[in-house]
Symmetry: C2
Subunit: 446 residues, 2 copies
């Protein structure tokens, strides 16, 4: 068996899979934050293109990938499926371990799978500029890349503390031609008001979202782009799981365990949801979601309606939540610090279709370093959670079984975190139940 399993470009999937029609329980509708009534599409059209709103609400099982999007996907897709036999040997696994390598994209993560169609659909509807927020910087990089491909302007509001601590991310996003503001910025009313109140404010993801949304809502030629959580984002990410299906078939194998890390849930859903039909048909296949113990949304959150952001500006969505006012500890996997999760993933968790597990960050960095020394590549801190999860599953999996995990991104711009790990300066955070209870008290009763 080849170590790297390459799907020919001619075999790349040409449709995304939409899991919503196949879910045993229909999706709960998003609610208007003002009226708490189900939200109409017209409210979303202020910040999203029509094509994206249609996908967000679609009940079509298959959605054609536009030829122009396929053409950009071909820059790096199909991504390799890799047999991690060195890792298998190091942990004494009896099963086989494979990883789907999404770090090979230009932006270094799975995020361009959705930034590219988002840029395309906006371009088709005459939009000139896309706004977004970015925390650690992965999503801003991916959207910058996609906008460069379609000749769109791109405005990124980057949480000021990250803007200052991660200058490399800022330079990379700039290099693609995007404009970056540290958030809070004077460019929006929200940002300006915050700066007037506190000129030294270091920002937050919630605030950056508010700035990006305001920018899009107040400019006719601009729309907003989101990198995870929403249904259309998860649909775009299914390209990875659909490729895995074909790649496993090429070598005459099937996955028994599918493992991914969960922040907003898009990379995990992209890998596992294409296997929903098989699972519902009774095939023995386990979906395993890995999250940090410092932000244990799926393992300890409550399944209920909550706001997507701290400022209560977004629609309410039904999800596992730690409360929209919950502020996760500053773990290194910035992409996993979200109080909620994608409604599609939460629906599956509520149905008992997903096993969720939480690990401490030092356990995950230990797994990442083992991966580096055996398989050679440096994982992103977020990805280290998927590796830890896969290793734990593989230790008890039987001979003949297959563990497949999603390698969501490389860690080349996260080396400072590895230094903290190696020098013993990395702290673990076990969340007190009272913190969760308190934050959940602020959720609206619906």
């Amino acid at each position: 068996m080849d170590k790297r399993i390459f799907l020919p470009q001619s075999e790349m999937p040409t449709k995304w899979y939409n899991p919503m029609p196949d879910l045993p329980t229909p999706m709960a509708p998003p609610l208007d934050p003002e009226t708490l009534e189900p939200l109409g599409p017209e409210k979303l059209s202020v910040i999203f293109s029509n094509a994206i709103i249609a996908q967000e609400m679609s009940q079509d099982r298959w959605i054609d990938i536009p030829e122009e999007v396929l053409d950009v996907y071909r820059i790096w897709r199909p991504s390799p499926l890799v047999r991690a036999e060195r890792l298998e040997r190091a942990i004494g696994a009896k099963c086989k371990i494979f990883y789907k390598d999404e770090s090979v994209s230009p932006a270094g993560s799975h995020k361009p799978n959705t930034s590219v169609p988002q840029a395309y659909y906006n371009k088709m509807e005459g939009v000139k500029r896309i706004t977004t927020e970015t925390g650690a910087g992965q999503w801003g990089t991916a959207l910058g890349f996609a906008c460069a491909q379609f000749g769109l302007d791109c405005t990124v509001y980057m949480v000021k503390v990250s803007f200052e601590q991660k200058p490399y991310r800022k330079i990379l996003i700039n290099s693609y031609g995007a404009t970056i503001y540290p958030s809070p910025s004077p460019a929006t009313r929200t940002g300006a008001a915050m700066l007037e109140k506190d000129p030294d404010c270091k920002g937050s993801l919630g605030l950056a979202i508010s700035e990006a949304v305001e920018d899009a809502a107040t400019h006719d030629d601009a729309k907003y782009g989101l990198g995870s959580v929403l249904n259309h984002v998860l649909i775009h990410q299914t390209i990875t799981g659909l490729e895995v299906k074909k790649q496993m078939a090429m070598i005459g194998e099937k996955p028994d365990y599918l493992v991914g890390c969960v922040g907003g849930g898009s990379n995990f859903a992209g890998l596992v949801t294409p296997y929903i039909p098989e699972k519902l048909a009774g095939e023995k296949i386990q979906f395993i979601a890995i999250e940090p113990k410092a932000c244990p949304t799926l393992t300890r959150g409550e399944y209920r309606y909550d706001y997507g952001d701290m400022a209560r500006l977004t629609p309410l969505i039904k999800m596992h939540t730690l409360g929209h006012s919950f502020m996760p500890a500053p773990i290194h996997a910035g992409g996993l610090r979200y109080h909620g999760d994608a409604p599609i993933v939460c629906n599956m968790v509520a149905e008992g279709m997903v096993d969720a597990k939480a690990y401490f960050q030092t356990e995950c960095f230990e797994a990442a370093q083992l991966f580096l020394r055996t398989e050679g590549y440096l994982p992103a801190p977020e990805t280290s959670h998927a590796i830890k999860g896969a290793i734990e599953v593989a230790k008890t999996a039987k001979a003949g079984e297959n563990v497949v995990f999603l390698y969501s991104g490389h860690g080349m711009l996260d080396l400072a975190s590895y230094d903290k790990y190696m020098t013993g300066e990395m702290t673990n955070f076990e969340l007190p139940q009272a913190d969760i209870d308190n934050a959940l008290k602020e959720c609206p009763v619906i």
Copy 2:
């Protein structure tokens, strides 16, 4: 035609090509730095393994790649050959442009092609530890990765100014389990002496070489590894050109122009030397070497015997040189700052088999940014020279012709250089002839 041309792992070359038997003029022998007489293999065995010395002097046209080395190569090889059609369109090229993507290796460059066999041969001969120097850090990363694969210890002497300016590289090398010393270090007599003379000394590549060589020469269980220049290194790099041959054949095409950047010369030689038989047989195929105007070894250096290092510790080799005491300007492409070049490459230049061209660094960064915005990926500063060279060739190449360049590495750890470029703080260096003349005066007359 697929954008990414993947060679199946079953088709990966299993022999390296040794160009030495095919060169029209035999290689001039290396000379002992003390006696100035041709150097015997016994002198080299203090710091190199026997297998490597045998390759250094070999006249065998084909050298078997050991199965254990092939097994590690399969972590990332065969690397993709990619059609750069977006770049073609952006510059209005009539020809096709392809790039051989060596940035996909775990270390992010072509360097593991030689670090892996070097680690393997040393392991086979009972060596426990490999020492080396690193400037910008690419080679130290590659050797760290290779030593982790074979369970060898690795000691890297990193030029102190880089050690301090590039903390990410240091962390990455550490993560593979290697030990790093900033050079000058108290770990060697050479380093300790320098520190006693100047406690604030920031080091130089020449000094770091001296430390690494001393460390290997004074410890029975240690040998030394070099990342470029020498014949065995160039032989290992031919895996790239041999793969390109097969990949071009897969799509029914042949290269008309092969382009690579030249520092020590190994990535360039790896791409072009497998095409020497075709060239000597009269096929129209041009080998184009690109170097920085700040260090114009092939375009303005003299072809003569010179030392490999500033301290005159290495054997003398016949090469194009700017003089061993020449100190190149601090350009961002640290890997291209070498006063000489690989003897194999220089032999070919002297035979008129290679066209060498030099460009300013801002021209190369401009080309790199165009590549980033069209093809999506961020090139290393060294690689930007190959891109600039390929673009210039492609502008005048005819329809039906093919330009192939070697994409030697990614720039994820070089983003500070892009910032300097974008903010207009990057300086160009045109070398005065008097500087070259003065440095050449110090070369020995042989």
